[in-house]
């Protein structure tokens, strides 16, 4: 199953909220169960924070976070208690689970988004989503730690974590979504559009990297597939608009931009009959291309047209449609740059495209070899800057440019259009749209009330009693 940053954040915040509603009393054993997990939790948090691409070289916020989390990660925050008999207390499973999820998010973030410049809002939003649950964990551990002299230093460290986390938890949930939420780990064997797109991108990179396998058919196939990808992204974005997942005024310009890129890739994929570069396609690319097109047909099409939005949503197994469309555009943009570079090299570099000698016009080109070829009707190497070749090059260039522009527009839809609002310092946390948020009021929202009635995650200590099967947690 495809794991996305957004999906893992959902899980992290749900866990944190379950923890925040536990009735906790100080207990030395429980405190030790927490303390043993905290270095790993701090390390995973730091990894995730450091893997968010920074907008600037010097990031004071990150320096501050590092200075708070590093001592815990290095286990310098807690005195070694050699005189106390070591009780056999297992690590708290809920904190362990949070650590694993944070580690998973860190891994996903390390994939990054190629050629996307981080903006401060996206970074702040992601940091808020990472640190708000950590704040909850710190508060929980603080409530568990007995107030005795030897716990003074670790308690102070956790208070710092709680304090900095609270500052971030204060960011309204509506401002937090961003492009990084879309980053996904896709199992290559999965039968999904995401997997088909990723496999195709890998095959495309490989086919374009080897000169041996580069043929006109390879370049035409990649261009045609890019058109198919753009068509799929437009259809998925359209479905997201129709189903109310994306506002019409924000989604429509994206669809138009993607459609323009689609049209330009169709143009780039058709080579005139008079141009030819022989050779077979890379086998991997041929297979991935056929699989991509079949997956698009199976997932998004109904006969000779695009399927109904509701049908598309069902076939996507509940994935956020706009997010899938954005991932399609990330892949299309990456492949587009490689394709354009290959075409440039082909028409202006060492490689030579062949041209039908009979279609060659202009006295400049006429020499004995050309005359002979024309008489025989054979192919000859295309002269540099021959207009037909320049047209094919320009078509690829225009398509790549249009794809980059469409991708940027698409990325902007990852963020919700919400006006920021600030309130006074937080006194409690709430669960809004699947995210921990610090609030002034202690009155929980409907989703919060529902979650408090669920059994706690894992096998940790304390917590409300279970009351029947747990409903799924919506974002």
């Amino acid at each position: 199953m495809t794991a996305t940053v957004a999906g893992m954040l959902d899980r992290l915040h749900a866990q944190a909220f379950a923890i925040s509603n536990l009735a906790t009393r100080p207990s030395e054993d429980r405190w030790r169960a927490h303390a043993v997990v905290w270095p790993r939790l701090a390390l995973a948090t730091m990894r995730a924070l450091n893997n968010v691409p920074a907008g600037t070289a010097i990031d004071p916020e990150l320096v501050l976070l590092d200075s708070i989390l590093q001592p815990i990660a290095r286990s310098e925050w807690i005195p070694r208690i050699s005189d106390t008999p070591a009780a056999n207390v297992p690590p708290d499973k809920r904190l362990v689970d949070m650590t694993r999820v944070l580690g998973g998010i860190a891994d996903l973030l390390s994939i990054g988004l190629k050629d996307i410049v981080s903006d401060s809002t996206a970074i702040l939003g992601l940091r808020s989503n990472l640190l708000a649950p950590v704040m909850v964990a710190a508060n929980w551990s603080l409530a568990t730690a007995p107030e005795v002299a030897r716990n003074l230093t670790p308690r102070r460290h956790l208070q710092l974590v709680s304090g900095i986390g609270a500052a971030f938890a204060f960011i309204p949930v509506g401002l937090r979504p961003g492009q990084y939420d879309d980053i996904a780990a896709v199992p290559h064997s999965e039968n999904s559009l995401d997997a088909a797109m990723h496999n195709w991108l890998d095959a495309t990179k490989e086919a374009l990297a080897t000169r041996k396998g580069l043929s006109g058919l390879t370049l035409q196939t990649i261009a045609a597939d890019l058109s198919v990808l753009c068509g799929a992204a437009a259809a998925t974005t359209n479905a997201a608009i129709a189903l109310g997942q994306l506002a019409e005024d924000r989604g429509r310009p994206v669809v138009e931009a993607i459609s323009e890129a689609n049209a330009k890739w169709r143009e780039a994929s058709r080579w005139p009959q008079t141009i030819y570069l022989g050779g077979v396609r890379d086998t991997g690319l041929a297979d991935a291309s056929i699989h991509l097109r079949q997956t698009v047909i199976d997932t998004l099409r109904d006969g000779k047209s695009w399927a109904d939005p509701a049908v598309i949503a069902t076939r996507m197994n509940g994935q956020e449609l706009a997010s899938v469309a954005r991932r399609a555009m990330h892949i299309a943009a990456e492949a587009a740059q490689l394709q354009q570079a290959a075409v440039t090299n082909l028409f202006f570099g060492k490689d030579r495209v062949m041209m039908a000698s009979r279609s060659l016009e202009g006295a400049t080109y006429m020499n004995k070899a050309v005359f002979t070829a024309r008489r025989r009707g054979t192919w000859i190497p295309m002269p540099r800057y021959e207009p037909t070749g320049v047209e094919v090059y320009r078509a690829a260039l225009n398509a790549a440019t249009a794809t980059t522009a469409a991708r940027l527009l698409s990325v902007a839809t990852a963020r919700t259009a919400v006006a920021p609002s600030m309130s006074s310092p937080p006194t409690a946390v709430d669960f809004t749209q699947g995210r921990i948020v610090a609030l002034r009021t202690t009155t929980p929202s409907a989703s919060a009330q529902r979650l408090t009635q669920e059994p706690p995650f894992g096998m940790g200590t304390g917590g409300p009693g279970s009351s029947g099967p747990a409903p799924s947690i919506g974002r």
Partner: protein, 95 residues
């Protein structure tokens, strides 16, 4: 491979051009165009070099012309090429 096989390849290239020129976002044109490229790959594997041929005016006519050219073709790989073309013709609704 014979001249007729090269001509069939030439017609197939024209069919791909026509499908990829269909100006709509419905996606059917590009999918059929890409299917033509798949068949072109089979011609490349058979080491056929395309011939410049008269444009038949439409993708469907070009596919029919390619099939007609292959009827006169000979060689061990011609039946496989014909099968690939027939499959394309079926997909394009010509058969």
């Amino acid at each position: 491979m014979s001249l007729s096989t090269s001509e069939a390849y030439g017609h197939l290239r024209n069919a791909a051009w026509h499908y990829l020129s269909i100006d709509d976002d419905g996606g059917e044109g590009v999918l059929l165009g890409a299917a033509c490229l798949d068949v072109e790959d089979a011609f490349e594997k058979a080491e056929v070099i395309p011939e410049l041929v008269q444009d038949e005016g439409s993708a469907e006519a070009a596919i029919k012309a390619a099939l007609a050219s292959l009827e006169e073709g000979n060689g061990p790989l011609v039946p496989a090429l014909r099968d690939a073309l027939v499959e394309l013709a079926v997909r394009a609704g010509l058969r």
